[in-house]
Symmetry: C3
Amino acid sequence: MNAICGISPEMHLEVTMLFEEYGRLLDEDRLEDWTALFMPDCLYEIISRENVEQNLPLSLMLCDSRDMLDDRVYSLREANVFNIHYDCHIIGPVRVTAQDGAWTATAAYSLFQSIQAGETRLFSVGRYHAELKRVDGVLRIAKMRVLVDTGAILTLLATPI
Amino acid sequence: MNAICGISPEMHLEVTMLFEEYGRLLDEDRLEDWTALFMPDCLYEIISRENVEQNLPLSLMLCDSRDMLDDRVYSLREANVFNIHYDCHIIGPVRVTAQDGAWTATAAYSLFQSIQAGETRLFSVGRYHAELKRVDGVLRIAKMRVLVDTGAILTLLATPI
Amino acid sequence: MNAICGISPEMHLEVTMLFEEYGRLLDEDRLEDWTALFMPDCLYEIISRENVEQNLPLSLMLCDSRDMLDDRVYSLREANVFNIHYDCHIIGPVRVTAQDGAWTATAAYSLFQSIQAGETRLFSVGRYHAELKRVDGVLRIAKMRVLVDTGAILTLLATPI
């Protein structure tokens, strides 16, 4: 059936729960648990949709292994100075496609940030494009490209999206 | 079971994926593919919630066939002048109800627009009310009414919601 | 399977539909139907995430029975003066966990309010933490804690989140 791409409700639920966990771990500032969702040999990239459409390679954030993601998280914990905030990810329905023993998955997101004074603002909207593989029975992220529509406020980008 | 209205997880997933495709095709500016989600004999209407509650018939957009939707898309491509933007639809959980060989479905949405300068703003929130039918094995939209809560900014309404 | 916590697609759908109904009934101002989603002996609490993290007990709203919820709704209908608005809840994917014949469930939300002049603003973002039980075959809310990220605008909190 075209509409659901031969994906069973069980498989769809498992992928949706991976996206749910991805957003929740970031929201709860559990960044070390968040990097554990990735495979050791992975790619994490945040890139503006404008750059993608113009074939400009410049990323806003690029980590090409889980070690590099872990380094970035360590740096956020120990070295970086940035405004303290709460994240809140609202993720839409996830589309899953099976491909050669792996899966691709995409979903739109909106990300809100609340500052210590208690105000919330829209920080970023865009779309996740993921490649997932099963490792020892558990679904892991092989590749996550975050295409952001919101190009303007990314000078403030410190934590992952 | 009341809570899930006798809808199987497979059927629910198929409807959710139709809503997902609806939002994604608009976000990716694939308007010609978006009209293909509708039946030839269809209704597409955007109407403010205020007007609905006061029984005022005035729509913000009304197309009563797929041909008319196609015309509108053609007009957007060739004739209309409007600000270029990226859309991002975030759609909530979809409620599906079976009814006489067809289905009704509803979901809340938020729609964000990002302009070329890179800023994103909230454009519209509201709720989809759809009637769906299966045509040659594929789920299609017979009717889509978009009830918008956001009455004020619709002078700028050019692309579908 | 870790990712989906031993929850079947049917069970997950039923819980998701309870959250969908929760948000939709509030959005449609059907507050009396909304309180009917709760068990007679229930807890409903809105609390800022900041207070939770600092172990400060102060709630923004606290009702410890359905009677108290009903009283609050009655008060909103008959006595309170507050700005008329439309609510629109966008709820993300729901995580469900089975626990001793009951279920816990969590989901992130964004809540938008539209005023009569037609403008929409972001009102609150945060996360639902629910405990659910089955009563006479129907899933009901035993406990709902709403952790709000948006501490600042809650002086205007009149209707439930």
